[in-house]
């Protein structure tokens, strides 16, 4: 199905983006450590006060992009007692309802993210890097749009491939 294929391709790109963010975040934080231990010991006078701020902002992007990908396989942590203890039909109904609510959640986040990025983000700059905060706030806006996309894909997959949607989250490696 075209939509599922499309989402799959988008997600592949997102995985690459996520990897790039995580690697940069690691290197930037590690650079901060290097400065303190190695450069200092070698008596090299440099400071990179921006490493911490950069890493933090990358982490924020990582959270919203990562969460959108987690939505695709229903990995967002929830308490599924009712879904699995009630009869199959009711369990599926509850699961579908909870996914619908999650979709509504992403709709709200898109609106809030939009307001934050395009109205408040213009007026505020980051303390160290001096970049407009819009660049950081945009993560919520974009992440939630991608999250909605993935929720639709999850729903369509269960309809067309006749998967029992209650168990999608268990097919993946579980996480804390």
């Amino acid at each position: 199905m075209f939509f599922l294929k499309f989402t799959e391709r988008v997600n592949k790109v997102l995985q690459i983006v996520l990897t790039a963010i995580f690697i940069t975040m690691t290197l930037s934080t590690f650079l901060g450590v290097l400065v303190r231990f190695v450069f200092r010991a070698l008596d090299i006078q440099v400071t990179f006060p921006w490493t911490e701020e950069l890493s933090r902002y990358l982490m924020i992007w990582l959270v919203f992009i990562g969460a959108s990908l987690a939505a695709r396989t229903d990995q967002l942590i929830s308490v599924e007692v009712l879904v699995h203890t009630l009869p199959r039909f009711i369990g599926i109904a509850i699961k579908l309802f909870s996914l619908l609510i999650t979709f509504v959640f992403f709709v709200y986040l898109t609106l809030i993210g939009y307001e934050l990025a395009f109205n408040q983000g213009f007026n505020q700059t980051s303390p160290i890097l001096g970049i407009p905060m819009m660049i950081v706030f945009l993560s919520m806006f974009l992440g939630s749009i991608l999250g909605m996309l993935n929720l639709i894909a999850l729903y369509l997959e269960s309809v067309f491939l006749k998967k029992d949607i209650r168990f999608t989250s268990m097919e993946e490696d579980s996480v804390e």
């Binding site: 901060g32 400065v35 303190r36 200092r40 006078q45 400071t47 006060p49 911490e52 701020e53 109205n119 408040q120 213009f122 007026n123 505020q124 700059t125 980051s126 303390p127 160290i128 001096g130």
Partner: protein, 326 residues
């Protein structure tokens, strides 16, 4: 958004205090600061709460949340901007994230004493800065005392040379980072809540704060020296949400303004008293107070004054205004 605050948000403003919709609206303000209950921020805001209730005959009340319960200063400022929080007591540095002009006080050795700083800030200079606020959705109410930030920790700083071998924690403000770096120190930025452990474990050798906050945060437990480096005097302002301000009747506005002035005096007096008491307490606690030789430090950072002022919108103008008011 900031610009819209002064005009089209009027319709929302009734919600600020859960008003009844009558002409005589009642307000319940939320206010916050990041220090503990002994500090001038708290004393000032509590005084303001009492004055408001008293003068309004109970129609205006205010809750005061201490210890960053409502978040850091920038976070509270954001909430004040859109009116979900009503009042905040904050340092100038945090405001500079929203309004760069306020970064002027991050310039090293701008003032020579708290008295001088307070006198200048409460005059023309402070008025100029308060004028920048409404455009961003704020209303400046009053100035608490400026605080004298000194460097403390496990490193004794007797002269400019001691900076060259020091690892210092700085608040996240380019003015601070640049000053310490210029002096030759290794600079680490980390949240204030991590500084205790960082000092204890030797991750950094020093941080800076005013005497009463140094003790209030318990940093004396992990410090041997309190060095009187007197590099920064940071003004503390009481700021209100413009939405909230505009929801008040002119009479209420006058009343709030008067109450804020009085509360700021009470707060400032508390700072002055705790400043003196802090040094007595330090002596009892065995923290050595070091009379740092400032000449070399002032000399080494002299060029920063204009450099930094040039990077701040109307910075040179403000700098000249400050100098001419001395």
């Amino acid at each position: 958004g900031g610009e819209s605050g002064s005009t089209d948000n009027q319709s929302d403003s009734g919600n600020n205090g859960g008003g009844s919709g009558d002409s005589e609206q009642t307000f319940k303000f939320t206010s916050g600061h990041t220090t503990s209950v002994e500090n001038q921020q708290h004393v000032g805001l509590v005084a303001l709460a009492e004055l408001l209730e008293e003068k309004s005959g109970g129609s205006i009340t205010m809750d005061v949340f201490e210890n960053s319960q409502l978040g850091s200063e920038p976070v509270m400022l954001q909430a004040v901007q859109d009116g979900s929080q009503h009042i905040v007591a904050t340092s100038s540095t945090s405001v500079s994230n929203f309004i760069p002009e306020w970064g002027i006080f991050d310039i090293p050795f701008l003032f020579e004493s708290t008295e001088q700083a307070d006198e200048i800030v409460r005059g023309e200079v402070g008025d100029r800065l308060f004028e920048t606020l409404p455009e961003h959705g704020y209303k400046g109410l009053a100035w608490l005392s400026s605080i004298e930030r000194n460097i403390y920790g496990t490193k004794k700083i007797e002269s400019v040379d001691d900076f060259k071998t020091a690892t210092l924690r700085s608040i996240e403000a380019p003015g601070f980072v640049e000053t310490f770096t210029t002096l030759g120190a290794q600079v680490v930025t980390m949240p204030g809540s991590e500084l205790y452990t960082a000092l204890q474990q030797g991750v950094v050798e020093g941080g800076d704060n005013s005497p009463e906050l140094f003790l209030g945060l318990g940093h004396d437990e992990v410090s041997d020296y309190y060095n009187l480096t007197k590099i920064h005097y940071l003004p503390i302002a009481i700021i209100m949400s413009l939405d909230t301000w505009e929801a008040l009747t002119p009479e209420q506005q006058d009343m709030v303004m008067a109450a804020a002035q009085e509360a700021a005096e009470t707060g400032s007096a508390a700072y002055a008293q705790s400043y003196e008491e802090s040094f007595i307490e330090m002596e009892e606690l065995g923290v050595e107070v070091v009379n740092t030789d400032l000449t070399g430090i002032v000399e080494a950072t002299k060029h920063l004054k204009e450099e930094m002022a040039n990077n701040i919108p109307s910075g040179m103008e403000l700098l000249e205004l400050i100098e001419s008011n001395k």
